[in-house]
């Protein structure tokens, strides 16, 4: 079952909806805007979208689980995207993931217990010349080695607790 925060303030959903005509073709854009605002798609927001566009909830759920840009679970404050495009893959992206897993106790697709980081693998961010690449929120880190990861994460406050003793 999907866990989510309860009682999100939905006032922003209404202002997002106001920007779009009531046409199905704006569905993806609306969902993306909600995703950007809340870091995920709150369930109540989907109900609002259903009522606004007159599209069955099942279609929204189908969209939300089909497109990778959409998520039904809240993401971390910092979204770590490790690129696993081909260029990054053959230059050792899996080692980066292992390192992050070790440091933050989080696997791809998960959020750290303190809710600060979520880890994702993405299929190419189009910065292959800098492989392997990691993106945290919108900041790119290129030509990485596993040993560099710890310092970078420390720049985001690391994870709560004494992870340095590891």
């Amino acid at each position: 079952m999907i866990q989510e925060k309860r009682g999100e303030d939905l006032s922003q959903v209404k202002s997002i909806l106001d920007r779009y005509p009531r046409e199905r073709r704006f569905l993806l854009a609306i969902l993306q805007d909600i995703q950007k605002t809340y870091n995920y798609l709150p369930r109540e927001a989907l109900n609002e979208v259903r009522d606004y566009l007159g599209i069955p909830l099942s279609s929204l759920y189908s969209m939300a689980t089909f497109y990778k840009a959409l998520s039904l679970k809240p993401k971390g404050t910092y979204v770590i995207k490790v690129c696993d495009g081909t260029a990054c893959h053959i230059r050792g992206s899996m080692d980066l993931i292992d390192e992050i897993r070790k440091l933050l106790s989080v696997s791809p697709g998960e959020v750290t217990k303190d809710g600060r980081f979520s880890l994702e693998t993405v299929n190419c961010v189009g910065s292959c010349a800098l492989a392997p690449v990691m993106v945290i929120n919108d900041k790119y880190y290129g030509n990485l080695k596993p040993a560099m990861v710890k310092e970078i994460l420390a720049g985001y406050g690391g994870i709560r607790g004494d992870w340095d003793t590891k």
């Binding site: 993306q32 959409l70 260029a87």
Partner: protein
């Protein structure tokens, strides 16, 4: 690059493509700007400072190019800004150590145009990138932008535009290489309105960023191409579908559309003609299958990106069931040049059946990684060794992967293959959108095939049986092989499933999905057999089939590996050769990475 060339004035171009941005180029731009602005009103000829799109040579970024002298600085740091400003911008002196070091000659060159990396290239689709500020429509116009549109609208009939594109021999740059002019003609022929033109900017091939660079670095070229295409087929509405991850591309294209409206290149009565055309940006949702035309259209319609059966072409029934022309970013960017300079000029470039140039992202284990544009027909060897400067480190070339997950791996024996649509097809690969990933001896070809199938198993829409179930089972077999559970008969089964997936799948994703498997079996069968029969990964990638050993002749006993080993598996006295205890080794490769004497060797055949 100003309207009236002013030789005494300097233009400073700071590359702000994604590669350079990641290396702090925006900071360099800001610092330079601060100094230029501090010059005060008394300064006669003020240097002009611009941010540009990707120069292509991302490996050497951040890049600062100073015109008109064309001084090309690489790997610039913020700490270099003072020196660049004082010496080069103010006094015209060249800072030797920042110049580009040509890997093939070992010499530093002043202008990048003298380097091997650029000398072999021919820029058509990338003509403006790195030279203009993508946010400035004036920059685009100064370099001849929107001339082609004017020519098309006032000197050419739609029919003439189509025949010009046909004569040019332009083929779709997105993958299959369908003749662009013929596609337009099919659409024009259908007597049903409205008609749509669509730009596919959902570049999703891992290892490819050609379209990204064009949309970021020269968005107007795409828009101009689309307006011309719309005029030719009789469309009034266009959509540019951009991958959501490409936030800079979304921003730059949106800004360009806005500017094009305000200058009368879009909207009603374009340039005073009777032609109307509107275009809008649609952000993709993050689904590789949306690169497939019918899935992309479903996505624009606000649905799940599932493709539909294509026995009736999109040019007849596409978006909302209406005639639709869909081309990819690079194809559209070629259109204005062809109209401007003529079909004959374009058709003189390239090979008999593949005209013009192709943009590739040359990445992987190659020295000069980056974005290149080369005439069709150039050989893979020239691309990888002359332009790319060969393999990184002292590695040995093993394979080059072209065409993304739908393409294949091409071995050394075929390096002299000319790069064009048909030759790559014959080799079992494809042009695809232009990703070119170089692999060396440390790349395991079985693992590469596994990697692509894993990718496709996640990216398949899951609608049809052969693609969804076939890829899943092929992946299962490959995962087994990589983990040492390969069985006799696996290769035959892979080949048989490949045929079914290739022939019976609904869309292009499934129809090409087996290519990475087929080509790696075809060209690297012995590597598969080493995994299956000898339980050994010759490249040392598959952990279950790899073990490490310290070469006692090379080991100096520095103890670094023992210190870094997370499993405590390495022991030895200081100064004496160390030993890895295979039973506790977790094959993480840390020792191999940290050893300064290359003493850690990969051996296969880990017995379990």
């Amino acid at each position: 690059m100003t309207g009236t060339p002013n030789n005494s004035g300097k233009t400073v171009l700071v590359c702000c493509g994604t590669g350079c941005l990641a290396n702090n180029s925006m900071e360099i731009y800001k610092e330079l700007k601060k100094r230029v602005e501090a010059l005060g009103p008394g300064f006669a000829v003020r240097p002009v400072l611009k941010t540009t799109g990707c120069n292509g040579l991302c490996e050497k970024g951040p890049i600062v190019n100073i015109l008109p002298d064309d001084i090309f600085y690489c790997r610039v740091r913020v700490s270099d800004v003072d020196e660049i400003f004082e010496k080069t911008i103010l006094r015209g002196e060249v800072i030797e150590r920042l110049l580009y070091l040509d890997t093939s000659t070992g010499r530093r060159v002043r202008s990048h145009k003298e380097s091997e990396f650029y000398r072999r290239q021919l820029k058509i689709a990338l003509r403006n990138i790195g030279q203009i500020d993508p946010a400035s429509i004036d920059d685009y116009i100064e370099r001849g932008g929107y001339n082609a549109l004017k020519k098309a609208l006032f000197e050419m009939s739609p029919e003439l535009v189509i025949s010009e594109i046909e004569r040019s021999g332009l083929r779709g740059r997105g993958g299959a290489g369908f003749p662009t002019g013929y596609k337009w003609r099919q659409c024009k022929r259908v007597n049903s309105f409205p008609k749509y033109v669509v730009c596919n900017g959902d570049e999703g091939d891992p290892g490819a960023f050609m379209d990204r660079s064009i949309m970021e670095g020269d968005p107007h070229s795409v828009i101009e191409g689309m307006i011309i295409g719309a005029y030719a087929v009789g469309s009034k509405k266009g959509f540019i579908y951009i991958r959501d991850e490409y936030s800079l591309a979304v921003r730059n294209v949106s800004k360009a559309i806005e500017d094009a409206y305000s200058r009368g290149f879009l909207g009603r009565g374009i340039m005073g003609s009777g032609f109307n055309f509107d275009v809008e940006v649609v952000r993709g949702g993050g689904a590789f299958v949306c690169g497939e035309s019918t899935a992309l259209m479903a996505s624009i319609e606000g649905r799940v990106g599932e493709p539909r059966v294509k026995y009736i072409r999109s040019t007849e029934k596409g978006l909302w069931g209406q005639p639709t022309v869909l081309n990819n970013v690079e194809t559209w960017a070629n259109v204005p040049v062809i109209i401007d300079r003529g079909a004959d000029w374009f058709a003189a470039i390239g090979t008999d059946r593949s005209k013009g140039t192709k943009v590739f992202s040359l990445v992987g284990k190659v020295k000069n990684t980056g974005l290149i544009e080369v005439p069709m027909g150039i050989t893979l060897r020239e691309i990888i060794f002359d332009i790319g400067g060969g393999i990184t480190g002292n590695g040995k070339f093993k394979a080059v992967q072209t065409g993304g997950p739908s393409g294949g791996c091409i071995p050394e024996a075929l390096l002299d293959l000319p790069v064009d649509f048909d030759s790559l097809d014959r080799a079992g690969s494809m042009m695809g959108s232009g990703g070119m990933i170089v692999m060396d001896e440390t790349t395991c070809m079985v693992e590469v095939a596994r990697y692509y199938l894993k990718f496709l198993s996640e990216e398949s829409c899951g609608k049809c049986t052969p693609c969804r179930e076939g890829i899943r089972r092929m992946l299962e077999i490959l995962e087994d092989i990589c983990a040492g559970r390969g069985q006799e008969g696996d290769l035959e089964l892979l080949l048989e499933l490949s045929e079914t997936v290739k022939e019976a799948s609904l869309c292009g994703l499934g129809k090409t999905a087996p290519n990475p498997v087929l080509t790696t079996i075809k060209y690297f069968e012995s590597e598969y057999l080493a995994h299956i029969r000898d339980k050994r990964c010759p490249a040392g990638v598959c952990r279950k089939l790899t073990s490490y050993r310290i070469n006692t002749d090379l080991c100096r006993g520095c103890g670094l590996c023992a210190k870094k080993c997370p499993a405590g598996a390495i022991s030895g006295k200081p100064g004496a050769p160390h030993i890895i205890d295979v039973s506790s080794c977790i094959v993480c490769g840390t020792c191999r990475e940290v050893c300064r004497f290359n003493a850690v060797e990969v051996i296969g055949g880990r017995s379990e």
